[in-house]
């Protein structure tokens, strides 16, 4: 009976989603004679922006009225140590999904770490409540099928905001569904247990970012755009397992400066040119030659 209710709920979500997309539509692609605008449009990768913004706003008000207060309550009621234990426990539950994805990405060392962590924390760590392995220098990490797809060379696909769950994209949303099949709990635990686990997981994660999110909201001039950028960069960082991203070329195509630097270059001897801020001119060649 409960399952039928869930299916009905899903169906309604689908109808609402479809209606939102139909009424708010997609961002229109800029005309072909403006290559810079097209480049910017592609960079943002947000074809469904008008729809996304609506869903984002709904999510945000749900967050304000339900999730954030719940996270604050959780912080007030459960002491530090207890929250850490719950966080560790939930992290430990993710081990099968991590392991499956470590293996699918061909990362032997990480797979080994995940397995040992799971064994050590489930036994010495009292069912995962204490992260003994981290204390031993074996830090945890998160892998998911979205990251696996990325490692396999699948692009992110258009960005979109999932109702209730928040920022995602075609690749990561697919990963989310696939990961539930890597999780033994999906097949063993009753639906209510799985659902509670997700809810507690959500509140736990929200609690961790209470201050950060509040600050971001307070200091940004476009909260939606900021969150979109943060999501994409964070995913990029996770896919790279923390390796630094390619650093953007901070230089300018300012005509005035270009002329100015050209003038300067004429005036100095060749060996001194290196000391001048050549990149300031926005000359891409001079930047790449420095690599």
């Amino acid at each position: 009976m409960a399952r039928a209710n869930v299916i009905t709920a899903y169906r309604w979500c689908g109808v609402i989603l479809a209606a939102t997309i139909l009424t708010h539509g997609c961002a229109s692609r800029p005309s072909d004679d403006d290559p810079e605008a097209i480049a910017a449009y592609d960079e943002l990768n947000d074809r469904l922006e008008p729809t996304n913004r609506v869903i984002f706003d709904v999510n945000d008000s749900i967050d304000e009225s339900v999730v954030e207060p719940a996270a604050r309550g959780y912080r007030t009621v459960v002491p530090d140590l207890g929250r850490q234990g719950i966080g560790n426990f939930l992290q430990n539950l993710r081990s099968p999904v991590n392991l499956a994805n470590d293996i699918l990405q061909g990362k032997g060392e990480r797979a080994h770490d995940t397995l040992i962590r799971f064994l050590v924390n489930s036994t010495f760590g009292v069912g995962g409540l204490i992260d003994v392995a981290s204390a031993e220098g074996m830090e945890g990490h998160d892998e998911d099928f979205g990251q696996t797809l990325a490692v396999w060379g699948v692009g992110e696909g258009p960005y979109f905001v999932i109702p209730l769950l928040g920022p995602s994209n075609a690749r990561d949303a697919t990963g989310l569904v696939v990961d539930t099949f890597f999780d033994p709990l999906t097949f063993v635990a009753p639906f209510v247990v799985s659902l509670s686990r997700r809810v507690v997981d959500g509140v736990d994660q929200r609690e961790e970012v209470l201050e950060a999110l509040e600050e971001i909201k307070g200091t940004s001039i476009d909260y939606y755009a900021t969150i979109r950028s943060l999501y994409r960069q964070r995913r990029e960082n996770e896919i790279r397992d923390g390796e630094p991203p390619p650093f953007p070329d901070i230089s300018f195509d300012d005509e005035f400066e270009e002329e100015f630097v050209d003038e300067l270059e004429k005036d100095v001897a060749p060996e001194e040119v290196d000391d001048i801020d050549v990149e300031e001119s926005g000359d891409k060649d001079s930047v790449s030659s420095l690599d």
């Binding site: 810079e36 910017a40 960079e43 943002l44 530090d80 050590v120 010495f124 003994v132 204390a135 031993e136 220098g137 201050e211 600050e215 307070g218 200091t219 940004s220 001039i221 476009d222 939606y224 755009a225 900021t226 979109r228 950028s229 943060l230 960069q233 964070r234 990029e236 960082n237 790279r240 923390g242 630094p244 991203p245 650093f247 953007p248 901070i250 300018f252 195509d253 300012d254 290196d274 801020d277 050549v278 990149e279 930047v287 420095l290 690599d291």
Partner: protein
């Protein structure tokens, strides 16, 4: 069975050792002046927190001046505006170059202000081109958990300035650029200036 017991012993011993000798604080050799720059900036920030601990207004003012001298605000401002710099009128550019630094100073002064009870260490410096290098640092929260903050530091005329801050790999420069692009796209350059005026409390 024997090996298993040995493992348990090792784990237990390691655990005890870890409690006795915390591992952080082990920084690599810092010969780079860029590291010294970040270190001195961080020390100044900690000094501000220590000295003017409770005087909120004074402390915020000190952080504001720390950010204005430590960050290359013009470079950041131009990069963040991106292609819209070209299409902006001279008046818009002028106003932007006043408002945006103000916005950044506000934002980062507030961020430094929230660093209470934290310590940091410079881990290493990685040069990325002739004048920019990345200074990797770890900031330790009150409970000792480190998080990674990297500063992209630019040298010009033997003076260092921060051009980007990366928190756990997320670039604030890239984030601001995406945010600004989104605002200009939707509301135009004047819309952006209005939002910046509002955010910085400029009439």
């Amino acid at each position: 069975m024997r090996i298993y017991r040995l493992n348990v012993l090792l784990v237990a011993l390691g655990f005890v050792a870890l409690c006795l000798f915390p591992t952080h604080g082990r920084a690599m050799a810092e010969t780079e002046p860029a590291a010294a720059f970040i270190r001195s900036l961080g020390d100044r920030a900690l000094d501000i927190l220590r000295i003017s601990g409770s005087k909120k207004v004074e402390r915020r003012e000190k952080f504001r001046s720390l950010v204005s001298t430590g960050f290359d605000l013009e470079t950041i401002g131009k990069f963040v505006l991106g292609r819209y710099w070209q299409t902006a009128t001279p008046e818009q550019r002028d106003e932007y170059l006043v408002l945006f630094p103000e916005f950044i100073v506000d934002t980062y002064a507030a961020r430094f202000d929230s660093y209470a009870g934290e310590t940091f260490e410079v881990v290493q410096v990685v040069p990325i081109d002739a004048r920019d290098s990345i200074v990797n640092t770890n900031i330790f929260g009150a409970d000792g958990t480190p998080f990674r903050v990297d500063y992209r530091v630019r040298r010009s005329d033997n003076e260092f300035k921060i051009v980007d801050v990366l928190v756990e790999g997320v670039s604030l420069l890239v984030t601001h650029r995406s945010e600004i692009a989104s605002v200009v796209n939707r509301e135009g350059m004047n819309g952006l200036l209005a939002k910046l005026r509002e955010q910085t409390g400029t009439p």
